[in-house]
Amino acid sequence: MIEFTMPALGSDMDEGTLDQWLVKPGDTVHRGQIVAVVETTKAAVEIECWHDGTVDELLVPVGTTVQVGTPLATLREADGSATREPAARAPLTVAPGTAPARTPHPRISPPEAPGHRRFVSPAARRLAASLRIELDAVPGTGPQGSVTIGDVERAATAPAAAPPAAIPEAGRAAKAAARAAQMRTSIAAAMSRSKREIPHYYLAHEIVLETSLTWLTARNAQRSIDERVLPAVMLLKAVGLAAQRFGEFNGFWRDGGFLAATGVHVGVGISLRGGGLVAPAIHDVPDKKLDQLMDDLTDLVARARAGSLRSSEMSDPTITVTNLGDQGVDTVFGVIYPQQVALVGFGRPAPRVRVIAGDVEGSRGIGIVTTVNATLAADHRASDGHRGALFLTAIDELLGQPDLLEK
């Protein structure tokens, strides 16, 4: 039997609300299949399953808010074996290659023994008995997910209604408004933590884009409009390739040490129409061709704004790129998303006056060329400015060799 648990969709997520089950007991599921929708403070996220098997039991009803790490369902393994495999718990919520990113933290995960009886504090149990509150329906927020006095009091004052099978459309608007408010809180928590804990250092570098833009224009001229690749995609690819070469910018600072990620999953800062932002991942950026990245980015932005991201996208980013060029600013100095260790910022690509090579060999002149200001905000615990400078200039060099980006 395998337990399918509430994944941590980012380091600032403590709990999630089960919005929708897309499977039922007896259904066969396969690895990567979207099996549920979970409402976080940021978005409704489609949750993938990481095992082949058969759904045995759904443990958490729709509408219930549970802590990260709480078992949501049990699965029977594909070979029909019903033996418990405790070790199989982690992979269920963790995508290959980035296991540590989403392993529920011990402090917020339930105790090891799976399927233990519900923890209810002695005082809460007494209060529930006196108020005739059914404890099974009371979500727990205390230590180890226990039901506390406060939980019982909330349950006592909440309108008695069975959790809806699916959230009705009318409820979605209210949900979105509440989500926007909660998102501010989430962003506040993550960014406060970042500025409190991460000793940022910042580097800036102006990159001349003439070569790459000329190449891209020529490339796009041969294609229909909907097949064209945006310059932003080239920037993403360059960051992905550079992060692959400079591993200390691609990973996590966790438990007092740096943990390099095995893949490069670039988080893309996407502002949402209702306010706030998310930075979901495009997976394996160095391995993807530009066309594929363009498709991925388009899809990701659309789904982020529709509020339907996938669990792996929320929790996998190993480095983040923020691009405020569209808003017209020249330079952006970013705040690192914990527990990542680096963030690359791009401002507006624009024609700027630069010293360029002159017409005569060895001479210099003044020219107007298109440049973009790239910045690196990096965690000084994980890397030093010397390597940061090399990383940032590597992005520049890659953009000067567009053929490398195409591969």
Binding site: H105, R107, I108, P122
Partner: protein, 333 residues
Amino acid sequence: MKTTYRTAVHDAIRDALRDDDRVVLMGEDVGRYGGTYAASKDLLAEFGPDRVRDTPLSELGFVGVGIGAALGGLRPIVEVMTVNFSLLALDQLVNTAAALRHMSGGQFSVPLVVRMATGAGRQLAAQHSHSLEPWYAHIPGITVVAPATVEDAYGMLGPALADPDPVVIFEHVQLYNTSSDTSADGDQLTPTSISGAAVRRPGTDATLITYGGSLGKALDAANELALAGIDCEVIDLRVLRPLDDATIFESVRKTHRAVVVDEAWRSGSLAAEVTARIMEGAFYDLDAPIARVCSAEVPIPYAKHLEDAALPQTAGIVAAVHGLFGEPFGDRP
């Protein structure tokens, strides 16, 4: 006027010597040197060698002398330099002082006061820094007190001397330099009591239970937690034996959560005892498991950073309280 804890201890001894000629002070370096922690400075000059007596480095001997003097009608104050050294005198205290009333069918009592320094934080390393007062709190027949404030540093000695049975006073080494705003005249410090705990800070959300040198850290933690919206009640046990269950239970019944802060080691500690009593007496009022913040189970290190790391600190107390609310804190991902 600011009065230090050291001055309060000194003045309490001086006033006791002045008020009652049966009171004598003895111990290592209490006379000519004025006390290792200067608690008996100039008392030899004022009261003479009959009443302020330097002893050899022989805890077993001079604590025994103190017991004999008490049995003979005096009111001795015996100073033992640190609790670590008091182990040499455990036989006198446990087998004689604590047991004589019982063994004599009430015919004899031992009105002895033993003062000793306890605790870490001054880089005195593994033979001068331990908190062994829970061992004394284990023994029936003696009263064990731990003054944590300037007022108690002065105020507990008088009642201790008036008690017909042995009283052991633990003065945490980190407290001697602490001070309190007392009235314009330091002499106006008055006797307090050697029974009962004190609520040092009222609160509604969680109870911090502590004593001695950890009281300041607990109060600091309470102030920090107040900024996070958690209103902590802080209880100073004051008397480690007999424990004041009523004050503890009353607080836990109100707050439903408790953290016990004890500089001794966790295993078999006073923190363990307090925790167990809350389980016995207020289990159905608990809304979260009781948490303990104690010293790391190592001999207290000499190096400053290691000593700091080994001891309960404010940040650890704050984290423990957050834990009671199911809030991951500090090392959360």
